[in-house]
């Protein structure tokens, strides 16, 4: 794969988006019960950047992430991920795409309780039947500082540790993009900071592309870029450096 090393990705054509949505609309239900979760969103995500997507409940931020990640399909519009048009893919191809090009971090960690930390980290590679890049995985584990907890099962790890395992799992397969859905939603502030720091470093040190949905302004302040959604539309797209800025923007968006 041409994007197998982080350096290659960073060196890609400047300005060209790694993930992009064009005129994406998502409608749930019919008639009276119709809900327009997304109403024609066009947005691009360049490689090697950390983007936070925020918005009030029901703004469509989670729907957008699901559609970008190939977990859900748009009612209309197109999504391109690493040069692949997702609407053309059947379920099996979408599964392969998620396996090979996408990493996930969830709010509720979603580690498999029967596997220990190391096995959970290697799970996506095992599913794909790929040999792990030991040097890479080693470096990741070193980075998160979980070296002595690797043979523990999730039930024996703290919430913060579990989420860090989940992030390493997402990074282990060297995906094109990592999607994080409220990664700090179940964590205390100290663990949250550790987790966000880890995501930040994956972008800075490994050139990873990260797209994170959150409603925590503090979390969003770790990102390079802030995307604000309201009522299924992008209402703000720009830099966001401090939590204060983010809160102001949120207020403005209503």
């Amino acid at each position: 794969m041409s994007f197998s090393t982080p350096e290659a990705r960073v060196a890609g054509p400047a300005g060209s988006a790694l993930v992009s949505a064009t005129g994406v609309t998502r409608v749930y239900g019919e008639g009276e019960a119709e809900v327009r979760a997304l109403d024609g969103v066009t947005v691009g995500f360049p490689a090697g950047r950390f983007t936070a997507i925020m918005g009030p409940s029901g703004s469509g931020k989670s729907t957008l992430m699901h559609i970008l990640a190939g977990l859900d399909r748009p009612t209309s519009g197109s999504v391109v991920l690493d040069g692949i048009e997702l609407s053309a893919l059947d379920d099996a191809r979408l599964t392969d795409l998620r396996r090979d090009k996408v990493g996930f971090v969830f709010q509720s960690f979603n580690l498999l309780p029967v596997l220990d930390a190391r096995e959970n980290i290697l799970l996506p590679l095992s599913i794909a039947g790929r040999k792990p890049d030991q040097a890479w995985v080693g470096r990741l584990i070193e980075t998160v500082g979980l070296g002595d907890r690797l043979s523990h099962r999730p039930s024996e790890l703290s919430a913060g540790q579990q989420q860090r395992v989940a992030i390493v799992r997402a990074l282990a397969a060297q995906p094109s993009v990592v999607f994080a859905d409220e990664p700090t939603g179940n964590l205390d502030s100290k663990s949250s900071a550790e987790v966000l720091e880890l995501l930040r470093r994956s972008v800075d040190e490994f050139g990873q592309t990260v797209i994170m949905v959150t409603h925590d302004a503090q979390a969003a302040s770790y990102a390079d870029r802030l995307l604000l959604l309201a009522d299924g539309l992008v209402v703000h797209d720009g830099e966001a450096h401090s939590a204060g800025d983010v809160l102001d923007l949120l207020k403005a968006a209503g």
Partner: protein
């Protein structure tokens, strides 16, 4: 609360359906057995009522002891004139009816399997005639016959065709002049029924000058009961006198008694299925109660009493039990027909007119099914009441209840010890056979429960062992499947235990059958020195001594030796004593027995005298030594004192408890027919040539008898064992199916518990195929745990059960057992089909959001 219970039940339709199915399948065989045997019994009632319709009073030979082997007693023909001369008798006629084998002109035998045909005499008095003509006419002269319409149709016999009949004498060729039916039924379940004129029937059956029955019609104004009393006064010493109705009941109940074991056996298999079903019900309730702990806790917080929670769960059990039992009853009625077909395949065709659904069938099926379901849901219901209300408020893992484990282990240990002890009492302590059987059955059930209770501890090691290849070759999905199968060891154990029972019983039957085959083979190899064995075609009907007389004249035959069987009552010994008759002079040359007391000379001393040699086992059981005297009552009613002159150890198991000289057996026991013939050849005579000559003779004169080499004899015996084994397999199949339903049910419930995990796996790129494979492997591992436990338990039981059998050669059929294990694994694959599809179809997003 009721509403909550019912809503909980109907919210999960698949679970409801599968659990009800487990109950239903258990009840099916019980209801089916009743319907099947009731139908048969009713058919016989109807048939005998019809055949005795015109008879006011019937006289039959006295039977001082009941025997199920050997020749029945008959009445002398001379009695008829005395009966006719009695006042009040309007008409009287003698008749004969007995087993015979019927062939077409080309030697093709009628009727499938070993069920023999019957030959009856046509009565000279029309009102005594049980059957009626359908086409043609009744036979009027020797050489003519009427055949039952069912056989005629099946075998394509036309009026004017010749049939060949062999009963207790040389075969007869008869011309078919009519077809008959009884009670409006043209077939009595596959057996051929032949009517011939009295002298012909007597000749065919070897009963010339004898009657089986004398039928009497009274004068008008004399009731059957009065007439019966009068005749009993006159002939009570020679004959049993019954009214026509009593006679019909007696004949019918005799057949019912001989079929009684069938009902018991079928019900036992039904009980096994239901027992297996109980595991599944228990497991399902355990799982759902666990999954609903928070709901129960919430109800408790809202003020529900423990009793209300308990009632709520039990109500579910009640509804499930009633629904399942009702469905099972319906299926059972359908199964009765299937059972009949099954028995027909193995050669036992039984008559059935109209399906009989007795109220007893309905009550027992509903009650047993419902009670078993309720009992199985009792422990989960109790567990539900123990949840603390505060659990409702607690976040995170499903509330659990601990602290049962040590008590359970103690209970398991107790059940195992008690189970084995009960079985040992049943097996080794002696006593009546029904009591022994109850002990053994209860012991086996306790053992199964005990093993089931400790099996959670065995799940992990066995899963590791059987899961190894899947992990090695299946990668991460294999590993996850193995891990998932041991996540809830109790649940996996209960699921596997259900399969374990079926597998254990199949293993047990297989080992037993293999041992039986091996025992026969060894016996034949070691004991039989005769080159050829003569037997009736079906293997159990006795045949006329003329057969061996004629064979003795065949070129190349040096000696023939008959073996006959009869039974007797012995003073001071409960039950019947089996008796064999051998040719004292020639027997020892053709069959090797070890004389343990009295020496070889003891056999020679038998010669026509009231002397007997006793089998070692019988001698040991009843402390009989040479010189002892036994008081016997023989089938002819004679009391005889016989002296034991020797003791033999018959490894071949051919001879009975007591062996006499043939001539004495004939004189004292009235046994005139041979059951076996041993044939020795002249030195230098080729076995194949002599066999060919004897075959030709038998084909010409005695088509119902066959000659076999030792090897053919062994094969035929093995074939019979295999046929029985096949029947047992078929009946156990239901229990296995029930346990597979259990695997399906457990998987479905576990998958719903793991929805979120499955969603995650799909999200991070697990293909539907991989998900399916994972579920399948989990099912296979569960099935193999059941298979391994069942194999081991079955082997242990088989070894234990064969211990008290003397001279039983234990042979473990490793090949069969390996196939069984593979089949168990494949069954797992089959059981996983539905759950795997459900798991693979899960919507990823919905699964991730699942709470």
């Amino acid at each position: 609360m009721l509403k909550v219970a019912l809503r909980g039940l109907f919210a999960r339709k698949l679970r409801l359906g599968l659990t009800a199915l487990a109950v239903a399948l258990g009840v099916t065989l019980i209801a089916g057995s009743y319907v099947f045997t009731d139908t048969i019994n009713a058919s016989f009632d109807k048939i005998f009522a019809a055949t005795n319709k015109g008879t006011d009073v019937a006289l039959t030979a006295r039977r001082p002891i009941k025997i199920d082997q050997g020749t029945r007693q008959t009445l002398p023909a001379s009695l008829l004139s005395q009966v006719s001369a009695q006042p009040g008798v309007a008409a009287a006629a003698g008749s004969v009816t007995d087993q015979a084998t019927v062939f077409d002109a080309h030697g093709h035998r009628f009727g499938a399997g070993g069920f023999p045909g019957l030959v009856s005499s046509v009565s000279a008095v029309r009102r005594f005639q049980g059957s009626s003509i359908k086409t043609g006419r009744f036979p009027q002269a020797p050489g003519e016959a009427a055949l039952d319409a069912g056989t005629a149709e099946r075998e394509k016999v036309k009026l004017g065709d010749t049939i060949v009949v062999q009963g207790g004498a040389k075969r007869a060729k008869l011309r078919v002049v009519g077809t008959t039916q009884v009670a409006g039924v043209s077939s009595l379940g596959g057996a051929a029924f032949v009517d011939a004129v009295l002298p012909e029937a007597q000749r065919v059956l070897g009963k010339t000058g004898r009657f089986d029955e004398i039928q009497v019609a009274g004068d008008p104004g004399t009731t059957p009961a009065e007439l019966a009393d009068r005749l009993r006064g006159a002939f009570g010493r020679e004959a049993v006198v019954r009214t026509g109705e009593q006679q019909a009941r007696s004949q019918s109940s005799e057949i019912k008694a001989s079929l009684g074991f069938l009902t018991t056996a079928l019900l036992a298999f039904g009980g096994i299925s239901l027992f297996v079903g109980a595991f599944i019900i228990f497991n399902t309730f355990s799982i759902t109660v666990t999954q609903r702990m928070r709901e129960f806790a919430l109800l408790r917080t809202l003020g529900a009493k423990r009793g209300q929670i308990m009632r709520s769960v039990l109500t579910e059990g009640l509804v499930l039990g009633v629904v399942g039992s009702a469905v099972g009853l319906g299926l059972g009625i359908l199964t009765a027909a299937g059972l009949r077909a099954l028995f027909k395949v193995v050669g036992v065709d039984l008559p059935s007119n109209h399906t009989v659904i007795a109220s007893r069938t309905i009550i027992v099926a509903l009650a047993v099914g419902t009670l078993v379901t309720l009992a199985s849901s009792l422990s989960p219901a109790l567990r539900a009441t123990r949840v603390a209300p505060v659990e409702a408020l607690r976040e995170g893992a499903v509330p659990t209840i601990r602290g049962m484990s040590r008590k359970l282990t103690a209970l398991a240990g107790f059940l195992l010890v008690a189970g084995v002890a009960l079985m040992c009492v049943g097996l080794f302590a002696g006593g009546s056979s029904s009591a022994s059987l109850s002990f053994v059955g209860a012991g086996a059930a306790a053992t199964f429960l005990g093993v089931a209770l400790i099996s959670p501890r065995l799940v992990r090691p066995i899963a590791s062992a059987v899961g190894l290849p899947f992990e090695r070759f299946g990668g991460i999905t294999g590993r996850l499947a193995r891990e998932n199968s041991v996540r809830q060891p109790g649940r996996t154990a209960a699921t596997a235990a259900a399969l374990m029972i079926g597998v254990a019983l199949v293993t047990f039957a297989s080992i037993f059958a293999a041992g039986a085959r091996e025992t026969v083979a060894k016996a034949v190899d070691q004991n039989l020195s005769a080159a050829l064995v003569v037997q009736s075609e079906n293997g159990f009907s006795p045949f006329t001594p003329d057969v061996l007389r004629d064979i003795s004249r065949v070129d190349g035959v040096r000696a023939v030796s008959p073996v006959r069987f009869s039974q007797a009552k012995a003073h001071g010994i409960s039950g019947r004593v089996t008796v064999s008759g051998v040719d004292a002079a020639g027997f020892a040359q053709l069959y090797k027995v070890k004389m343990t007391r009295g020496g070889q000379a003891a056999l020679d001393r038998l010669k026509g005298r009231p002397f007997a040699v006793v089998s070692k086992k019988f001698a040991d059981d009843h402390h009989l030594r040479p010189g002892a005297t036994l008081q016997l009552t023989t089938p002819t009613g004679a009391g005889r004192s016989v002296v034991i002159v020797g003791e033999l150890d018959d490894k071949g198991g051919l001879l009975a408890d007591l062996s006499f000289d043939t001539t004495y057996l004939e004189r004292a026991f009235g046994e005139k027919q041979d059951a076996f013939g041993l044939v020795g050849l002249r030195p230098g005579a080729g076995v194949a040539q002599v066999e060919g000559r004897i075959k030709a003779l038998l084909h010409r004169d005695y088509p119902a008898t066959k000659v076999q080499t030792a090897q053919q004899f062994k094969d035929a015996q093995a074939g019979q064992v295999n046929q029985l084994l096949g029947l047992i397999y078929a009946l156990l199949a239901l229990a296995i199916v029930v346990s597979l339903v259990g695997i399906v049910n457990t998987l479905v419930l576990s998958i719903s518990e793991r929805t979120r995990e499955l969603g995650l796996m799909r999200a991070i790129g697990t293909s539907r195929k991989q998900v399916k494979r994972m579920i399948r492997v989990e099912a296979v591992i569960t099935a193999l745990i059941g298979g391994v436990l069942g194999l081991v338990l079955g082997m242990v039981l088989a070894i234990l059960f064969t211990q008290p059998l003397q001279d039983f050669t234990l042979a473990i059929p490793w090949g069969t057992l390996a196939v069984l294990l593979v089949l168990a694994g494949l069954a797992g694959v089959a059981a996983a089909a539905l759950p795997a599809r459900r798991a693979a179809k899960l919507d990823v997003l919905a699964a991730l959001a699942y709470e």
